[in-house]
Symmetry: C2
Subunit: 186 residues, 2 copies
Amino acid sequence: MRPQKVSDIETLQGLLSVFRSKGYDGASLNELSQAAGLKKASLYHRFPGGKKDMTLAVLAFMESTLKEHVYEVLTDTKQPGQVRMTKTIENIDGLYKGGEEICMYRSLSLDTGINIFGKEIQQGIQLLLDGFIYFGKEMGMTEEMSISNAEQTFIDIQGSLVLAKSMGTTRPFKNILVQIKERYLK
Amino acid sequence: MRPQKVSDIETLQGLLSVFRSKGYDGASLNELSQAAGLKKASLYHRFPGGKKDMTLAVLAFMESTLKEHVYEVLTDTKQPGQVRMTKTIENIDGLYKGGEEICMYRSLSLDTGINIFGKEIQQGIQLLLDGFIYFGKEMGMTEEMSISNAEQTFIDIQGSLVLAKSMGTTRPFKNILVQIKERYLK
DNA sequence: GTCTATACTCAGATAGAC
DNA sequence: GTCTATCTGAGTATAGAC
């Protein structure tokens, strides 16, 4: 077997950057090929199902990233709450490049994407919510309060990213991160 | 001159429904034609610049809708505050079909759309913000508070629409509308 | 102003050599 | 496993009759 020219991780990161900024319909195989560092035919070798396969792989990659950088940090009971929340906020800041990048789940939430990948999108978001729900309960919130705070946290992140992108400034996102931290540590 | 088969408003509403649910890249001329009730060539007669022209027309239509249903309601000093806010919330509920439809500004905020229509998108959102800023100041908020409340209101609407679409329930959006009302009328 | 028919480009996807 | 070359269809857009 000939060696891989580009590692799986690098390939996925390249594909992710295109899908997140262009959405499913806007991501062309030429762009995907260029971002992945592989010719179109080579992409089809790795993802026999074509663009749908690539998207599913990127969604799985995103879910594992969220699990590692958010869910597992929030539920790591060996660390004190303050440390976990601070680390989580830093990680979320990094995931969205300080507010310059939007969320791939949002990019894929137009009709074409949601019709094909609805289940995977819902699952990734639920993982995020579950992390914050777990953390909220541990901080003494009721079940009900921890759920509504987790949802509001997700709403704040997504909404501030919409505002930031539209208005051309990362400020709303930066502000929201501070607010989220206060919501859980006050 | 032959009479118009479909009115301008009907045409724009048809185009709007496709752009909002599919985004710019996902909206094909075949779909746009069908939704508008006009054949492709007829669409090009009305919008000589093609898809870009159609999008600009729909953006202008959206802005005038927001002006009428949100901005002018919020700034109508002949009405008491409670009436204006109640009417505004009802109108926003209607604009997004109770949380089942997403915001066209969001659909057009992927790279392709924002690169072409960034100015128009920003302008429409600013109009929304200005309505809430005006209202907040009239309710006795400081300049600073009225701005941050307006931004949070926009974030809440957009974020809850993302959550609603992804999770397949309108509940987050419905909840948020109640919260917004309380933010301004308490 | 609207339509049918058509041009042309680029999209997604495959075949087969190395 | 990666590549060049190619196929097929859908995409945007136009010509010209009515």
